[in-house]
């Protein structure tokens, strides 16, 4: 589904990604772990088309993503739930949600409305607040909106970046419940998350990132792999 080979990326002079290779198969949830500033978010941004690769290749469903704009990549079926959720402040909850429909411009209106209806049924708090500005929602609600926004489209691969950061434990449970639902629905997910234990419960495999390189990968279900991961990321 997603294959990254020997990816290098720069921010100005700083060499942020130094040869990252990773794979995510169809329906797999893959965790991406590591300390702050090691390049996890940059990996996601490269896949989404925000950060150009200096060298290396990113393939999504067999398509080379080099030179494609973020909107073209989104229409290939990539959904992004970014760090800090990035809800549009001047837009209502419903307007924010409906933007997710642009991922599938050819889809029938009836199907679009059905998808919006399903999202509001799944997240009744968003339905209650549909006319409010998106940024007047609580942090947890904004996270739900950011996830609902990619769920109304036709994404096959989701990139989810620190979805539980700064949220109350009850909301964290809710977020992981959603991720589990998305996994059951057959989506491939690349998940960056500081809450490693919770993430490993839903993940199939994981990669650990250090200073722009993948330094470890393993099976989420393997106690030996988990132990090595903990040893690596523990400060």
């Amino acid at each position: 589904m997603l294959s990254i080979e020997n990816l290098h990326a720069h921010y100005g002079l700083s060499h942020v990604l130094q040869g990252v290779s990773l794979q995510a198969g169809p329906g797999e949830v893959v965790g991406l772990f590591g300390r702050n500033g090691v390049g996890k978010t940059t990996i996601l941004k490269s896949v989404a088309g925000w950060v150009p690769a200096s060298s290396g290749a990113i393939r999504f469903g067999g398509v080379d993503l080099a030179g494609r704009t973020p909107d073209a990549i989104a229409r290939l079926g990539l959904g992004l739930v970014p760090e800090d959720r990035r809800i549009f402040p001047g837009l209502s909850v419903e307007e924010n949600l409906r933007l997710g429909l642009l991922q599938c411009p050819g889809r029938a209106r009836r199907e679009n409305e059905q998808a919006i209806g399903q999202a509001f049924a799944r997240f009744p708090r968003l339905a209650e607040r549909r006319r409010q500005l998106g940024t007047t929602l609580s942090g947890g609600e904004q996270q739900m909106l950011a996830m609902a926004r990619v769920m109304v489209g036709t994404a096959k691969l989701l990139l989810i970046d620190e979805p539980t950061e700064g949220l109350a434990p009850m909301i964290v449970d809710e977020i992981f419940a959603i991720i589990t639902e998305l996994k059951r629905a057959g989506l491939t997910i690349l998940l960056v998350e500081q809450n490693i234990h919770r993430a490993l419960d839903v993940a199939d495999r994981f990669y650990a990132v250090e200073r722009g390189r993948i330094t470890l990968h393993g099976e989420a279900a393997s106690p030996a792999d988990r132990a090595r991961l903990m040893e690596m990321v523990a400060v």
Partner: protein, 297 residues
């Protein structure tokens, strides 16, 4: 008491209405400017020349026998591809460079100079007066008002309302506002940002061209006609808040009233310093302008 009513009816009200017809036209110009700035972060220095091109296009087409009502549709439609190509071929080339502000400013400034000189080459420097498309006047409350000005006010206000509806009440408008606030995120949701940019620029240019059609019968047509007007439009955009649609409407209508009514009491020479003085004051007290930018809460 009777004197006061006479004064209101025969002096103040007609002047306020004159100001309103100018105000509506200024708002149409300022709307294009502020929408382009709000979305693209580009100050379109060629906006006044696009306005002139619209007026000359109307003049030429009218010479070919196209009626005024058809011009109101045809000229903006013809301006759309001009604006689209200007964005795709010129602005998009320097858009991602680090000096975007200064480069796009210089680029559009140069483009405006070229357009102005092309108009001089094709039409000559002289002033042309199009026929008044709606002759006659109407008496309202004892005031005699030219029909064309009444039409301009009604049509302009309807157009402003239509622009507002498109930007704030449609999916297309939501796309533009989203891209104005966070281009990357909008793009990753599938908003075709490049086309939205080109389309928005084209839309602003079409609005400028339409203002040219509407104002040609009142202010006549000459290659540098954009210059006088664009200063006022820029002032309106600055006072209203760069990139704010509400701001352009409110500031446009207010400042033109200041200009129109002040000229009753002080020499008209002083009405420009007064208007620009207000701009300076606003910049000192509230530099972000009266309202917030497009796409921002």
């Amino acid at each position: 008491m009777a004197d006061l009513i006479d004064y209101l009816q025969f002096v103040l009200a007609p002047q306020a209405l004159n100001g309103l017809s100018l105000g509506v036209a200024v708002v149409l110009m300022a709307l294009g400017l502020t929408i382009i700035f709000g979305l693209l972060d580009v100050i379109n220095m060629a906006h006044g020349e696009f306005y002139a091109v619209g007026a000359f296009l109307a003049l030429t087409l009218a010479g070919l026998g196209v009626g005024f009502w058809a011009l109101l549709v045809l000229v903006p439609l013809l301006m759309l591809p001009i604006g689209w190509l200007a964005e795709r071929w010129l602005i998009a080339r320097v858009f991602h460079s680090r000096d975007r502000h200064i480069l796009t400013l210089l680029l559009t400034f140069g483009l405006g100079m070229i357009m102005e000189d092309l108009l001089k080459l094709v039409y000559g420097p002289n002033t042309q007066r199009p026929e008044n498309p709606i002759e006659g006047g109407t008496e309202i409350l004892g005031m005699f008002l030219p029909n064309y000005r009444l039409f301009l006010i009604g049509f302009g206000l309807a157009l402003i309302a239509a622009v507002w509806l498109v930007v704030f009440r449609t999916g297309l408008g939501a796309m533009v506002r989203a891209a104005a606030f966070d281009k990357d995120m909008a793009s990753s949701l599938g908003v075709p940002v490049r086309r939205v940019y080109a389309g928005t620029f084209a839309f602003g240019v079409a609005l400028a061209g339409l203002s040219g059609v509407l104002l040609a019968p009142i202010y006549s047509v000459f290659p540098t006609m954009g210059r006088d007007f664009i200063l006022m439009a820029f002032t309106v955009v600055i006072v209203g808040g760069m990139g704010s649609i509400q701001g352009a409407v409110v500031a446009g209508l207010l400042l033109t009233q200041v200009q129109a009514l002040s000229s009753l009491y002080i020499s008209p020479v002083w009405s420009d310093p007064l208007v620009f003085g207000i701009m300076v004051l606003v910049l000192m007290v509230r530099p972000q302008g009266l309202f917030g930018r497009l796409g921002h809460a």
